[in-house]
């Protein structure tokens, strides 16, 4: 039994504590916005915030988040109005879109931490997440656009 806060709501799950956080979020708690891409800390599709920090949820066990605050893409805003999400729409970033929840969560954590990142800081931070469709330059622009809003 693990208790934590998910998108502002207290949750309690009966999964064994060693179960991958990503799968608990997706398969037990049915929040499918967080994606599986590699299970190996290489793609970032699974990025969520744990106590405000961008983390690969494929690299954490659900037991690791006992008592923590976990935020997924579904909890970033109620209605897609988070400045990063709005910037993503304005810049028409997604192609297949599969990587984009993770990209948005990483970008949102970056801006929360550093509201005026330089281009180099953006590129550096976003290098943790892969986009096979190649939307990187739009991602950079969208992060810069969102930085003006937050």
């Amino acid at each position: 039994m693990t208790q934590f806060t998910l998108n502002g709501q207290p949750v309690e799950v009966e999964n064994t504590p060693d179960e991958m956080l990503l799968l608990v979020i997706r398969d037990t708690l049915k929040l499918i916005g967080t994606k599986y891409g590699c299970g190996a800390a290489m793609c970032g599709a699974c990025t969520v915030h744990v106590d405000g920090v961008a983390m690969f949820s494929c690299q954490m066990s659900v037991g690791d988040v006992e008592g923590a605050e976990v935020t997924t893409i579904e909890g970033l805003s109620e209605d897609g109005s988070h400045p990063v999400q709005q910037a993503w729409i304005e810049e028409q970033v997604p192609q297949c879109g599969y990587c984009q929840s993770g990209q948005i969560m990483r970008a949102a954590a970056l801006l929360a931490d550093n509201p005026t990142p330089s281009r180099a800081e953006i590129v550096d931070e976003m290098s943790a997440n892969l986009c096979r469709c190649g939307t990187y330059n739009r991602i950079f622009k969208a992060v810069e656009r969102a930085a003006q809003e937050v």
């Binding site: 916005g33 299970g39 893409i73 993503w88 970033v93 192609q95 892969l130 469709c133 990187y136």
Partner: protein, 726 residues
Amino acid sequence: MTLTMNRRSFLQGTAGLTFLMGAQGITAVRSEAATGALDVNHWLTIRADGTILVVHPSTEMGQSSYSTLPQILAEELDADWADIEIEQLNADDRRFGNQLFGGVLYTAGSTGTQFYFDPMRKAGAQARDVLLQIAARAWGVDKSTLRTDPSVVVGPDGQAAGYGALAALGADGITVPDVDTVALKDRAQFRIIGHDVPRRDVPAKSTGQAVYAIDVDVPNMAYGAVLRAPVEDEVPLSVDDTAARDIPGVIDVVTLPDGVAVVAESLWSALGARGLLQVEWSRTSPFRSSNSDATLAEYAAAAHAPGAQGAVWAEKGDAPAAIAGADKQFSQLYLSDYAYHGQIEPMAAVADVDADGHGAEVRAGTPTQSWTARTVAQTLDIPVEAVRLNMMTMGGGFGRRTALMQNYVRDAVLCSRATGRPVKVIWPREDDVKQGTFRPAAAQKLHAGLTADGKLDGWYHKVATPSVIGFFNPLRWEVARPNDVISMRGAESKFYGIKDFRADHLIMDRHARLSPYRGIGASYTAFAAEAFMDELAEAAGRDALDFRLDLVKDNPRGRHLLEKVADMSGWHTRGNRALGLSFAGYSSSMAAGVAEVEVDADRGDIRIKKIWAAIDAGLIVTPDNAHNQIEGGIIFGISMALSEKIDIENGEVLQENFYDYEITRAHQVPEIDIYIAEVDAPPVGVGEVGTPMVSAAIANAFYAAQGKRLRHMPFTPDRVAGALDT
């Protein structure tokens, strides 16, 4: 063909006017309507409430056809885009088939807009004409006095009626204009095509709401994980599943033709139990002796062999004679390795086989309703009509999901049939890599002649690689043989006018699973051709741009791109900047590119500083999306040029995941400057045009920087170091 609408062909009042027979979820009334006289115009339904349902016949994998294709219809219908609802085609309904693939429903080869542009324009124009006729009759005026504003017919005295209201009046007795002669708009009248209408799928993809096959959740669903044979063609001989079955949540262990599946209440349990399976595999497969280094050496020897000939892929004049008679002769060998797609969504499918086994519902993300339905039908030995498909948006394709037999779908079907439950099968990343279907390894020998004054005099391009179609779609190979467009595209060098030209396919034995990959053959043939072109220009003592300009005299649009990209990149004033030029494309779409690189000789590292690209893809329906697709295609080209390589030893793929199969990350992405030509020509596709020219532009820029040639792609640090040592 001219058709008259009759009572069965429209829906009275409540539902509106049916032009189109939707594929799924159609009411009985609509079915009856569509089996009537109007099945030529099966593309749309105008409802009485003014909403307009338009079929999306392709499948969405990131290319944006889900928005682009309905926009084409909406344009000629002169609809308000906000009124358009999009219905995914979820059946193998060949009325919507892509004739560029013989009528198969197959979203590939950057052909969606190219093929559907005409039929969807005409469908929209027919519907608009019918609405005008309804309004003319209602108002007692001549049709020619009417015009349309978005979703509204406007009459001579300012009367106005929305499309929904007109549809509700019915179309009894109205004649549908002939599809071949129906009037189409002038380009100058376009309100949607060529304008930046936002993609429909972007909000959902920016909020985590888009549902992919891997996300599907249906009641009572179980999860399957498959232990697959380590080597192609091997089969499980015996299975000890005692430990696996002890894992809580395990429902069953199912033996598949080429693997063993664990079906469990959760993916976590299924994966855990899979790790405990003890399987004895057969050891008789000839693929056990497959080694990628030996394969490439075998292909290189074939390409090198004096007088080697293959199936003629393209020919003009007499290339061998011209080269033999030229003042100077040159030849060079280029190599490229196996490459993997790396789409970020792994393969996944959900199947729910009916209790009687006579039907099944399947949710999968594939480019083809036709082959997906066929896979399920064959697996269960049921008619295609008994397959209920749901085509899910895909987390990338790039050729990965194109096969005639879709193994991961088959796995899900077999697991569902065995357990009587809906089952979601996911191939984790390692499975997707190890069970991958790859771009083939290839060896290419190019021969050319030069005149004394430095002009090209004969070109002979030999490509030694297996048939990709022969493996991934044997049905298609029966028809196409020996012409394999997947293996050979690009080797025709069709954007150049070369008087004596020949390209041959030396069809090699296959030693790995193969499939199309972004750019298909052009991803390596354009590398060889454009790297060789640079070597020839240098041998001729000519500038690489001038040398190519000789060859585009009859291709003014291509010439424009070369001149444009030279301008953009400052080619003529480049000084010490290490620039490399390349000119290739995909099918009929052309791309001229220049790469600027910096080389870290100690680390064998090539840094791409900037890429300029000038593109001609005919008419562009959605400019902003075209830009996104082209840029993504260029980044894909960088990725495959610098790092992408699959190795095979004793039939097993050595790579596992993105740590040993590296694709381009954010910090490796250069600034990319893209120009898209505005031309009065039909659309020919933007999904792959950016990719093929990139690798040669990089190799040629590397030569400008270091004076050494890179002839083996990818240009990994060890190969770069090797080239610098020569």
